[in-house]
Structures are given as structure tokens and as C-alpha cells.
């Protein structure tokens, strides 16, 4: 069953004074199956982040539709949207987006508190997740007291504590050193192995080759996709690199 269906998505930005139109997404169609791990790749300005924002219901498309768990996002009202986002979607961002005013535990609790869960219930949920992510000892610390990798693991904990249908990650390794990035990617692998559906936007080849499927976006369209299939990580790495080279050199002419 497809947990996420995106069809004919189009997004046009109009500058404030009217004049220029910028087409961020031209015509994007793809779907993600339950339990899949999908990476979306593309250069800066290719429309990745716009796509992710629309998937997250933080932005609305000019035309086309997004169906998450057989619910059409454009049918939901603003009030229901945030509850839907809270219950069905988890986010991991490049810059962590942790609130400085909360310690890590409270940051992780945030979506649960918003849903009106009680403290014992939340505590029960956080313990196994924190143990799995290796942040049990630093839950009482504040974001500015811990390293980038630890911050990102806390952000992951926040994203998955609601048991979302879909985990969306926007350049999750972008602000991490290679050691922390490897750790985080292993975490994603583990989560996916446990059945979590993951959609990750990235331009790191290393991050992308952890996925089962890689979508390439250029100039607002899905340009190509690669399945991992039986390829090893190294082979997938080479394939992705080749595709990116193609995109950078002659891709535009072919499109």
C-alpha cells in the first residue's frame, strides 16, 4: 500500500510585487510504499525543499495533490492540518530546530504535550527511544550544551516519538561532521529496518546510498530514479555519482 502519493505537483512562486513568476516545481509525481526508505536528490535550487515543505503541509501546492495515508492534504483545514502533521508526520531538519528554551527531554515531549498526553505516558515512550538513540544520559541537558550529533539524535527522537506514518528528513546530515553523520544514517537504517517509512531530502551521496530508492529532481521535475535492488552500498554510490555527473553536464539537454 502506498503511504504517500504525490501526483502532478506544481508550485509557482510569485514575487511580492507581482512581476516575476518562479516555477519551483513543474510536474512531480511519485509514490512511497509503506516501510520504504526514499532519498530525494538534487542540486541547490532544484526544488527539493519546496517539495518537502509541501509534503509536510507547511506549504500549499499551486496545483496537484498530496495523499498521505489516503488523506488528501488539500482537503484538511488549517486547524486539523497541524494535528494531522503532529500525529502522522515526523520531521528532522538540517539545523535541528530544537527550542533553546527547553531541555532535550522537553523538546522531545513537545509534540506529545501538544496532543495532550500525560507525563507518565510520555515518560514511558521516551525511555526506549532515548536508549535506542543513545541520548538517555543527556535528556536533562539544553540544546546549547550538547554536540551537533546529539542535537540531531534528539531531533530524531522528537520526530519518532509520535510513531509517525512518515518520517521526513531535510538534509539531516548537512550540519554534522562525518562521524556523527554516519551514526545518524545508521540510526535511520535501524528505524527503517523496524518498519519506519523514511523520506529524506539530501545532496550527500553518502546519505542517499543508504536509501532503497533514490529520486533525482532537476528544474522542478523528477528526472530519474534508481533502485537499490541487489546493489551494494558501494555500487549504489557509484551509480548515484554517475547520475549526478550526468545531471550536471548534459542532463538539461536531454530533459
Amino acid at each position: 500500500m502506498a503511504i504517500l502519493e504525490v501526483s502532478n505537483l506544481k508550485k509557482v512562486y510569485t514575487t511580492r510585487l507581482g512581476g516575476t513568476h518562479v516555477q519551483a516545481l513543474r510536474n512531480v509525481t511519485f509514490s512511497v510504499e509503506q516501510g520504504e526508505y526514499v532519498a530525494i536528490m538534487g542540486e541547490s535550487g532544484s526544488g527539493k525543499t519546496t517539495l518537502l515543505n509541501i509534503l509536510a503541509a507547511l506549504d500549499t501546492p499551486t496545483s496537484g495533490q498530496v495523499i498521505v495515508d489516503s488523506k488528501n492534504l488539500s482537503d484538511l483545514k488549517e486547524k486539523d492540518l497541524s494535528a494531522f502533521r503532529r500525529n502522522n508526520l515526523g520531521f528532522v531538519f538540517q539545523d535541528f530546530n530544537l527550542l533553546d528554551t527547553f531541555n532535550l527531554q522537553d523538546n522531545i515531549f513537545l509534540p506529545l504535550v501538544l496532543s495532550g498526553k500525560s507525563y507518565p505516558e510520555m515518560k514511558q515512550k521516551i525511555d526506549p527511544i532515548a536508549a535506542e538513540l543513545g541520548i538517555s544520559d543527556i535528556l536533562q541537558k539544553y540544546p546549547y550544551e550538547v554536540s551537533g550529533g546529539q542535537k540531531q539524535r534528539a531531533a530524531v527522537a522528537r520526530a519518532i516519538i509520535t510513531e509517525p506514518k512518515l518520517l521526513l528528513a531535510d538534509e539531516p546530515t548537512g550540519a554534522l561532521d562525518s562521524h556523527s553523520a554516519d551514526g545518524l544514517l545508521r540510526t535511520f537504517d535501524q528505524l527503517n529496518a523496524d518498519g519506519q517509512t523514511v523520506v529524506m531530502v539530501t545532496h550527500s551521496v553518502k546519505a542517499a546510498c543508504h536509501a532503497q530508492r533514490v529520486l533525482f529532481i532537476q528544474d522542478g521535475e523528477v528526472f530519474h530514479q534508481l533502485y537499490r535492488g541487489k546493489h551494494t552500498e558501494e555500487e549504489l554510490f557509484a551509480l548515484i555519482s554517475d547520475t549526478l555527473t550526468l545531471l550536471a553536464t548534459g542532463g538539461e539537454k536531454d530533459a
Binding site: 503532529r86 508526520l89 533553546d100 528554551t101 515531549f109 504535550v113 507525563y119 540544546p143
Partner: protein, 669 residues
């Protein structure tokens, strides 16, 4: 680098940061102009030297001066915080610190010139207006002259040169000891969680509590003016500590309560407030203190002025009132006779004479103790005025029939009654009647009134006996102390000016008479309604003027602090706003949450100010009573109105600045 580069650069900076600098320059200019106006009024040649008014204006100028330093320091620290990123950028782009310092030097110089130019412009224009206001309020008819005060300008130039130099030096230090990368990150350095400082919180609570206790337990306003001043200082310091440490301790306690804390509404509010309080505690405490001052000043000075006519009528029921105490029993009659003979062109109407024996004592149960040491005697709290029934009837027309040891008593305040039976010196008396009418035409001083009683005895024999007993305990000096006093009041016809000049005639006549009688032990005092009225209007009007003037200044500071607070919070909140939305709060939820936090932060100072006012109220009524204002309902009304108007202004400022705040928050989205 090209010539004039720094100058142009500095000018550009001011322009670029106009959102911050325009309010800053407006504030500094207004403060400068108000300081100039105060100096101008104080140095006005039309003002009498060493008058209460001159002293009040001088006091006002000092307050404005101190205030200017604090206000500009506060705004400067805000501006520097906001411009950290900019300074870091210059540094990274290759400017040396000395270059940046030079730019700041020029900026400060520009600010100084703009402040002085605008300050003097506005100050000179408005000084005429304030001059007229002062004349109107103090009822001065000979108009004080309008001029441009060179001395005032000089002092203002010097004061602000000093302030700006101080700011410049502080900023140079800041720039010198900073690292470019830290500066570049600017406000985004992880805001450390505030520590709960129990010591400071408890100290704040203790200081405020002690201040409140002193204010509430003070019984006599005049005697305790010093202790009340201490109470005010305690409460001010306590308020700062409570805002800085107390709020954080309280919020942290709330956070420890898991059941309370992990609720949708409380969760973001408590942590958000914790963060806000850390940044704004000083600003909020300042608003609170300023608001309290404005409310106290306006409500008391306005009610004094609204009641000034009543106060004058009560204090001076007659045009003149003369008190004479002399060991020569004929002295008063002789004086009056010669006064009337020499001034046949003046009428003597509504004459009223009271003859009495005045004794001070300490109440010890039923015994009214009269100490035999001069110093102790004059420190006695209870004032007793003994009259014979005959003299009482002569003054009031009320007939009394009393036995030898019986008295009829008039108590000036209902609260303090004499015991039913009491002994004084070697006599003891029994109260048989409570009198409703005072034998005196005019009110006695409010400070004396609290413990003053008129005691009417049967006849002159008893009064004489008392007089003798009193005289004996002092020996020789008892001669004078035990002499009978005459209180004489009357009205005349004529204009106010004539009446004032007649006062001088009476004074001369009396002092001449004293010399002629060759008795050293004559004491007298004269008061005239017209002369007293001038004094009252002068003092009360001057106080109202000062109150209004300072209130304008304080209100301006309040508005400014609020404005800067809103702007700085707007920038900080924008980021939080975004994150919360991404994590699953709807836009309306986020707005509601932020709005309620802003509201609490905003109205907390006002609420505390009102609380301070409520606690100060009983003391204020006592203080006003000492200033002859007894109309407590009027003062209550004035206070309520002042609070209401102040709250209204506050809400308007809030609404206007909130607009700016939301613009900042949503533009970042």
C-alpha cells in the same frame, strides 16, 4: 582610506538603523529638552531666592539628570546588543577595532549634536508653555519672564556631553574585548537557561515585605517621613530583585510540578516566560517602579490641588488669626486697643477671642503626666487646652453647667479620646460631657490635631489652681509656660493686596507693643489668610507641576522600554514561532500562546504597581492629612482615575507596539 570616510559611514549607519535610532534620538532629545526647561525655570530671575518652588525645581532638575543617565544607558545596551552582528561583520571584512571605534565615535558625536539641537529647539519652544503652566498652577500673577537661559543650556550641554562620553567609552570597551566570530553569531549564541537565585528571590521578598510592613504600620505620617522613605527604597530594590530572581524561582517551581507543566497551555508558556523574564526583568521592574511613581505623584498632587480651596477655608476661616501668650494679663487687651485706635480706617469684623491655658503631657493610662524637664516637656505628644466654662461660652455661645471636678471635653479627632476620668498635676477630673464645638475659630495644625483636646473646667478658680500647679513644677521658667494664651481672629474689608499690607502693620504694632511692655516673656504668632493662601497655592501648584512634569518623562521612558522590549522579543520569537509550527502547532495556536505570554509579561508590572499603590495608600492618606487634606474619598477617586488613565495609556502603547512586534515575527516567516 579616503578622507571623511568614517564620517559618512557613521551617518549611513544611523540611517540604516533608523528603526532603533529614531526612538533613541527622540528620547534623548526630549530628556534634554525637559532638563533644559527645568534649569530654565529654576534660574528664572522672577523666582524668589530660597523659595520652596525654586527648591522643588532644583530637585526636579536633579531627578531628570539622574534619570537621563539611566535611560540612555539602558537604551544604549539594547542598541549594542542589536548591532553585534554588524560589528562582527565589519571586523571580519577587515576593519580593525580602532576603525570600528572611530565609526562609533562619529556616531556618538552625531547623536550628541542631534540630541542637543532638537533638545534645545523643543526645549526653548516648550519652555514658554511650561512657564505659563507653572504660573497658572501656582497662581503667580506677576508673570515670570520668558528668556533663553544661557546657564540652562550650558548645564544641559555639559550633562549630555558627559553621558554620551560615558556611552562611548562603554561601547569602546565592549568592542575592544569582543571576538568577531562571537559577534557575528550575535544574538544567536545559545541563550543559557536562567539559574534560580533563591538568595536574591528571598531577599527581594524580604525587602518588599519589610517595606510594606513599614508603610502599613506607620501611624504618624510626619514623624515617620524618614522611615517611609526607607520603605520606598526597600520596595524599589525589592521589586527589582523579585522581577529578576523571584519570577524565575516561581517559574522553575511550576516547571518542577510535572502535572502542571506538561499541559498544552502551560508547557510553552512556562518555558517561554522563563526565557522572557531573564531578558526583560530589569526593564519590567523599571516600568513597575516608574508606573508606581507616576500614579503616586499624579493622584496625590491632583487631589491636593482640587481640594486647595477647602483646605484654605478650613485652615484660615478668618482673614487674620493672632495667638499671643504673655505673662502680663493685660498685654492682649492693651495691644488690641492700640491696634484699633491706630487703624480706624480698617474694619474689625467677625471678631473671635479664646482665652486658654496650654499644657503638653504624656498619656499614661488615666494619668496625664507633665514632665518637669524642658526638653522632655516639649517632646510630649498630647496637647491640652484648658478653658473656663465662662470663656467657652463667650467663644461659642454654648452654656455649660459643671461641678468642681467635672469637665467637658472636645476631642479634635474622634479616634483619640481622653479617658473618662483622668488626673493631671495635682488635680483629677471626670468627663461629664463630650463637646461638639471647638472654642477655636481656626483649625490647629494637623500634626498637633491627632492628639489634641480642649478641656473645659467649671470656672476661673479651678483654672488658676491648675495654672499654679503647672508653674510650680518648672520653677522660674514656669512663669511663662503657664501664662494664659489668647487666640484672636477677625476679618477686614479691602482687597487682597490691602489685606496683605495690613498684616505687616499688625506685625509691626505687635513687636512694638512687646518692646514697650518690657516683659521678655511674650510669645506671639500671626497668620493671614491671604498670605497663607499664596503659600498653599505656591507649594501645592509647584508640586502638581513637578508631578506632571516628571510623569511625562517617566511615561516617555515607559513607552520607550516597552517599544524596545517588543522589538527585541519580536526577533527572538520569530525563530521559535517557526520551529513550533514545524513541530505541529497551528499558526493560531502559536499566536495564542505567544500572545498570552506577551500579555502576562506586559501587564505584570502594571499589576505590581497597583499593588504597591494599594499598600502605600494608607500612608499616603496620613501624609496628605499632614498637608491639610482630609478628603479621603476625593483622594481615592483621584487614585482610581489615575490608575485607569495610566492603564489606558499603557494599553494603547501596547496595542501600537504589538503591531510592530507581529510585523517582525511574521516577516521572518
Amino acid at each position: 582610506m579616503r578622507k571623511g570616510f568614517y564620517m559618512r559611514f557613521a551617518a549611513q549607519n544611523l540611517q540604516k538603523n533608523s528603526k532603533f535610532y529614531i526612538p533613541y534620538l527622540i528620547a534623548s532629545s526630549l530628556t534634554a529638552s525637559m532638563f533644559y526647561i527645568m534649569c530654565f525655570l529654576e534660574n528664572n530671575p522672577g523666582l524668589e531666592k530660597h523659595s520652596a518652588q525654586k527648591w522643588m525645581l532644583h530637585f526636579g532638575a536633579i531627578i531628570i539628570g539622574i534619570f537621563a543617565v539611566i535611560l540612555l544607558l539602558y537604551i544604549n545596551s539594547f542598541l549594542m546588543k542589536r548591532r553585534q552582528k554588524e560589528i562582527g561583520l565589519y571586523n571580519v571584512l577587515g576593519m580593525e577595532k580602532q576603525h570600528i571605534c572611530r565609526i562609533f565615535g562619529w556616531e556618538t558625536l552625531y547623536s550628541y549634536f542631534i540630541t542637543m539641537a532638537c533638545g534645545f529647539g523643543v526645549g526653548i519652544l516648550l519652555s514658554k508653555l511650561f512657564l505659563l503652566l507653572l504660573c497658572k498652577l501656582t497662581n503667580v500673577t506677576h508673570a515670570l519672564s520668558f528668556y533663553i537661559s544661557g546657564k540652562g543650556m550650558g548645564i544641559t550641554l555639559l550633562l549630555f556631553a558627559g553621558i554620551f562620553l560615558l556611552l562611548l567609552v562603554l561601547n569602546q570597551f565592549k568592542i575592544h574585548f569582543s571576538h568577531p566570530v562571537e559577534l557575528l553569531r550575535g544574538g544567536n549564541v545559545g541563550e543559557k537557561e536562567p539559574k534560580s537565585n533563591w538568595f536574591l528571590a528571598i531577599l527581594g521578598l524580604g525587602l518588599t515585605g519589610t517595606g510594606y510592613y513599614i508603610a502599613l504600620t506607620t501611624t504618624s505620617a510626619v514623624a515617620a517621613i524618614k522611615s517611609f522613605f526607607i520603605a520606598v527604597l526597600l520596595v524599589i530594590v525589592g521589586t527589582y530583585f523579585l522581577f529578576i530572581a523571584g519570577t524565575i524561582v516561581l517559574l522553575k517551581l511550576l516547571r518542577k510540578n510535572k502535572k502542571f507543566y506538561y499541559k498544552t497551555n502551560h508547557f510553552t508558556a512556562v518555558s517561554g516566560l522563563l526565557y522572557r523574564m531573564k531578558q526583560n526583568a530589569t526593564g519590567l521592574a523599571s516600568i513597575c517602579v516608574l508606573a508606581t511613581m507616576v500614579i503616586v505623584m499624579i493622584s496625590s498632587t491632583v487631589s491636593l490641588n482640587m481640594n486647595v480651596n477647602k483646605i484654605i477655608n478650613q485652615t484660615y476661616p478668618h482673614d487674620y488669626s493672632i495667638d499671643i501668650q504673655s505673662t502680663n494679663p493685660k498685654f492682649f487687651q492693651n495691644f488690641l486697643k492700640s491696634l484699633k485706635e491706630k487703624n480706624t480706617n480698617h474694619t474689625f469684623k467677625n471678631e473671635h477671642t479664646t482665652r486658654y491655658l496650654s499644657i503638653q503631657a504624656n498619656e499614661k493610662g488615666n494619668n496625664l503626666e507633665v514632665p518637669n524637664q524642658m526638653e522632655q516637656y516639649f517632646n510630649c505628644k498630647t496637647y491640652l487646652f484648658f478653658l473656663s466654662a465662662e470663656d467657652y461660652t463667650a467663644s461659642t455661645g454654648i452654656r455649660l453647667s459643671l461641678q468642681d471636678n467635672e469637665t467637658a471635653v472636645f476631642d479634635f479627632t474622634k479616634k483619640n479620646r481622653l479617658p473618662d476620668t483622668f488626673s493631671i498635676l495635682d488635680s483629677s477630673f471626670k468627663q461629664t460631657a463630650a463637646l461638639k464645638t471647638s472654642p477655636f475659630a481656626s483649625n490647629i495644625s494637623p500634626t498637633v490635631m491627632e492628639n489634641a483636646h480642649v478641656i473645659v473646667v467649671k470656672n476661673h478658680q479651678i483654672l488658676n489652681k491648675l495654672q499654679k500647679e503647672f508653674q510650680e513644677i518648672f520653677g522660674k521658667s514656669g512663669n511663662y509656660l503657664s501664662a494664659l494664651s489668647y487666640s484672636y481672629s477677625f476679618d477686614t474689608d479691602g482687597t487682597d493686596a490691602e489685606k496683605v499690607s495690613f498684616l505687616k502693620t499688625i506685625q509691626m504694632e505687635l513687636s512694638k507693643e512687646c518692646k514697650a511692655s518690657a516683659v521678655n516673656s511674650n510669645g506671639y504668632s500671626i497668620s493671614s489668610r491671604q498670605d497663607g493662601e499664596k503659600g498653599f497655592r505656591n507649594t501645592y501648584g509647584g508640586m502638581l507641576f513637578l508631578g506632571l512634569f516628571l510623569s511625562i518623562l517617566f511615561l516617555m521612558a515607559t513607552v520607550l522600554i516597552i517599544y524596545y522590549k517588543q522589538i527585541s522579543e519580536g526577533y527572538d520569537d520569530a525563530k521559535r514561532f517557526q520551529i513550533m509550527q514545524k513541530v505541529g502547532m497551528s499558526q493560531t495556536e502559536v499566536k495564542k500562546s505567544i500572545h498570552s505570554q506577551v500579555l502576562i509579561v506586559f501587564f505584570l508590572p502594571l499589576a505590581v504597581a497597583v499593588l504597591h499603590m494599594i499598600v502605600a495608600f494608607p500612608y499616603m492618606t496620613k501624609l496628605l492629612r499632614a498637608m491639610y487634606l482630609t478628603d479621603i474619598p476625593l483622594f481615592t477617586l483621584c487614585t482610581v482615575c489615575t490608575v485607569a488613565i495610566f492603564a489606558l495609556v499603557y494599553v494603547i502603547v501596547y496595542a501600537l507596539t504589538t503591531h510592530t512586534y507581529y510585523k517582525i515575527v511574521s516577516s521572518a516567516n
